[in-house]
Amino acid sequence: MIKIKDLNIHLGEFNLHDINLSIEKNQFFVLMGPTGAGKTVLLEAIAGLVSVKSGRIFIEDRDVTMLPPEKRGVSIVYQDYALFPHLNVERNVTYGAVFHKIDKDQAAKRLDWLASQLNLSHLLRRHPITLSGGELQRVALARALMVDPKVILLDEPLSALDPTFREEVRHLLKKIHDSSDVTFLMVTHDFAEALSLATQAAIMDNGTIEQVGNIQDIFLRPCSSLVADFVGMKNIFSATFKGTKALAGNLEFEIARKPTNSHGYIAIRPEDIVISKERLASSMRNSFRGVVTGMFDQGFSYEVHINVGDITFKSLITKGSLFELGIHEGVEVFLSFKATAVHNF
């Protein structure tokens, strides 16, 4: 579907080197990486908005490297929505129709459908300045989908939204992706977001692709320390699920939501694990007793390794609390975390 071969781009401050990427049709593909890694530049290159120094870009086996943006069949949705401020919602959404020779009846039908899918029907006469973040992003999505693109490029579509809207838009993205044959390529720097939406991913840093592949492989087997750092969740265990319980090794975990699969993985972020000397009387539903096996200085905090049976947990605690608790190797501690801190996939 999308094929990128030896792509090089020189834009002064942002450069891409030797990018090779292949994305299947109707895939939900995620591009991740730290700020300044070149993710947005890569999106804009696919959309034809930046000039390419060398290399080729193919969309549906057609070489589009030299084609102008309007001939590529690629829609782009930006983090800041980029709605046309002088047009109302309806005219924003239908903006592209005339260029794709969609006649009035057809455009009206499609507008109706998109408005109902994205819950915009009551907003059509409003101007963008009067809309909330979630509404703006829904309009931007509708506008991009109006022209029935082959590929939709999403540049951190969720990161500017507050948590309630984020959940809502994420849900919508999944729904739209599942109900269409459009290929989605999304930039994000939130791994949890990526996990919940995508199947394939690429991690970028410094203008190159560090790792490409199945998102869970990247998660479980990061190929470099950068990717491992970026992935962030260090406690990953293979598990079997039973109701809202997960079994990993000889430990039983409480999880927040009932998983749909019976086998999979659970992951807990190190900063979500609380260490204490006594068993905590709190609402945290997971609590284990273990032995400290290692402590690693991380600047402002320590990464503490704790063995519970045959599982090693990694927890992040501040230097202050480390000394307060008197933690050293060999000491027995309790570790606790909420059921919602256990991610499963």
Binding site: A47, L49, R72, S75, Y78, A82, F84, R143
Partner: protein, 260 residues
Amino acid sequence: MKREPFFWVTISCGVIIMAFILLPLIEMMRAPSVSMLGQTIKDKDVLRSIWLSIYTAGSAALISFVFGTPLAYLLARTHFKGKQLIESIVDLPIVIPHPVVGIAILSVAGRNHWVGQLMAELGLRVMGSVTGIITVLTFVGMPFYINSVKEGIEGISPRLENVSRSLGASMFSTFFRITFPLAWRSMLAGIIMCAARAVSEFGAVVIVAYHPMIAPVMIYERFEAYGLKYSQPVAVWLVALCLTLFLILRLIALPRKAQV
């Protein structure tokens, strides 16, 4: 609360500047009697010169609009080596002394230069003609237009244009559907700046075209020949008309609250 001395310094300077600007203007406006103003505006020469001033300044603004807008867009949207040089060249007419502008234009438009010869063949005369006046006024007014529009376009996110293109619009369509509707206020502001600068030009025009007489030249001539009293009424009419015109344009250019 007790105000600091610094506050009083800022206030006094402000008052002095207001007086410095307004006092001479008010005194000039007050000087001629109503009957004299009436008489002056009935004078066909006066009317013709004021009309010529407005007409030539408007033409200069229009030419700047047509030719300056694409350049302003280029400067706002692209980065290239030598961009600063181009920007300095655009600003050049602002810093050149006005008579020098006139002399420079004549040295290109004269019979000894190929441009002058070409224009002569086309039947265009610069020296002592309306064409000459418009040329001079465009020269001095263009930078104000370009700078204003450049700033206006820089204020529009290029992402809006990116989205428009990815939705299938060509660069031209994008400009007319997105950039222009969002930048027209800055264009109007640029037209006002350009025309205001052009209407006030005297030094360069007097060298290129003493006749036909634009209002500033006529005011100067009357001042030289008959003195202050005789030149004041023409000046009052010119100022009054220009202020009214600019005020109207300004009001149109003001952003309305409901939109954008």
